[in-house]
Symmetry: C2
Subunit: 251 residues, 2 copies
């Protein structure tokens, strides 16, 4: 990583594609990128999904790139007529879109005589874009300003993200601890947990309920940049959960 | 459904929760709602994920509710301190938030003496909100204006969505057909597929590539409100794919 500063480094994700909004394809990229960035100490602050419509792509790109340190997009960089992400980026940045010579070379060297006009579309990028290497299927993504444009296919996106990661400035990662409620319900813990949160403003305490075997339980997640605060808050939460854990069949 | 008009009915989804943006919890609600709305003939046009921050929730709610016929939110309506969606809605609509008497009654009747101050938080709603019944775990969601506020736990959200569906106006559903490329690559089909798209402006033709056993293939999805156009476009795509399907080991 190129730097590890004390300040928060922030990011957004933009998923581009009608197939996600129709529900035909289920997005798996947001969750992957979220976890990946958290591991780097970069805070994902927002995610959006927009259709394959130029104006929608450009508007979302501009809203997100101006507000966060980084924007990562997925989808719409393939060879078919509905792949219009490069044009969306050109519109957002006010830059002409043309075939990037280095991208054309990569496609030529890997595709040989299979490089037709459709596949050549994959070399189209706004002027000034830098290539993002694609270790999975060769056709590159690109970076323009603080925006990284990646493929939509999860395996390809993941390969590109590995290429991008070393170039990112990163923040101080949060220390995280999770405590399983083991059948403790949110409603039983809510009051005292709020008191613990107020006592530890430097610790973010989240309660994440889920259903399990037809009943509900919750997991308490604590995040902090201070190991000391985290340990102190965890001790309080652990004590609270110990007092409240069900011993019998209470539902 | 209360109506089936010829015009498009549009919607957005807003997922609220730090745990989704940290990657700790993987969202499963957007994909479910997307597919559900498509089945009703309602077009999901945008989705966003925002953190548990009042101003962020309110800004996203206002951006989305003004632009689309419906907004569906998930998350942040539980009993703990980090459940602030009701306050976010109050801020967005400029309405005070208080305990809804009917919601208090529901909680009382199901929880009895387990109804503490934390659980009572689940009855807080902006003034004028109407309850959305929760057939799974009782604590209701609510509707305010064109916004439906639902739980984040998938099973609970799904139960609420079933309650909401009969109250929605619905559009004419798209007819959908999908043709498997069986090893045809996007780059081989891209040129002629674009020609077919231009010949059938009333059909939306999407190409959705994926990796399969280390190689790539694509699925062509056609959508139209005209059965005739859909059949004609499908015939052209089927012919094209038949010409291009690999017969040997070409990779």
């Amino acid at each position: 990583m190129s730097g590890n500063t004390g300040e928060a480094v922030t990011a957004a994700v933009l998923v581009i594609g009608d197939e996600i909004l129709s529900g035909r394809t289920k997005d798996r990229n947001i969750g992957y990128i979220a976890e990946y960035l958290t591991g780097l100490g970069i805070e994902l602050r927002e995610a959006r999904i927009v259709p394959d419509v130029l104006g929608e792509i450009a508007a979302a790109v501009n809203a997100l790139r101006e507000r966060y340190d980084y924007l990562f997009t997925t989808g719409g960089i393939g060879p078919t007529h509905d792949d219009i992400t490069a044009d969306g980026m050109g519109l957002a940045f006010g830059l002409p879109v043309s075939h990037h010579p280095d991208a054309v070379e990569i496609l030529k060297s890997h595709l040989g005589d299979r490089l037709n006009e459709a596949r050549l579309r994959m070399a189209r990028m706004p002027e000034g874009a830098e290539l993002v290497r694609n270790p999975v299927s060769n056709a590159p993504g690109f970076r323009i300003g603080n925006v990284f444009v990646m493929a939509g296919i999860p395996s390809v996106m993941q390969g590109m993200l590995d290429e991008i990661a070393p170039t990112l400035k990163t923040g101080q990662p949060y220390l995280v601890d999770a405590i399983e409620g083991d059948g403790v319900k949110e409603g039983d813990i809510g009051g005292p947990l709020g008191e613990i949160q107020r006592a530890f403003p430097g610790v973010m305490i989240g309660s994440y309920p889920r259903s399990r075997d037809g009943s509900f339980t919750t997991t308490i997640v604590l995040r902090s940049r201070s190991a000391e605060d985290l340990a102190a808050a965890k001790a309080r939460v652990t004590q609270l959960l110990g007092e409240l854990r069900p011993t019998g069949s209470r539902s």
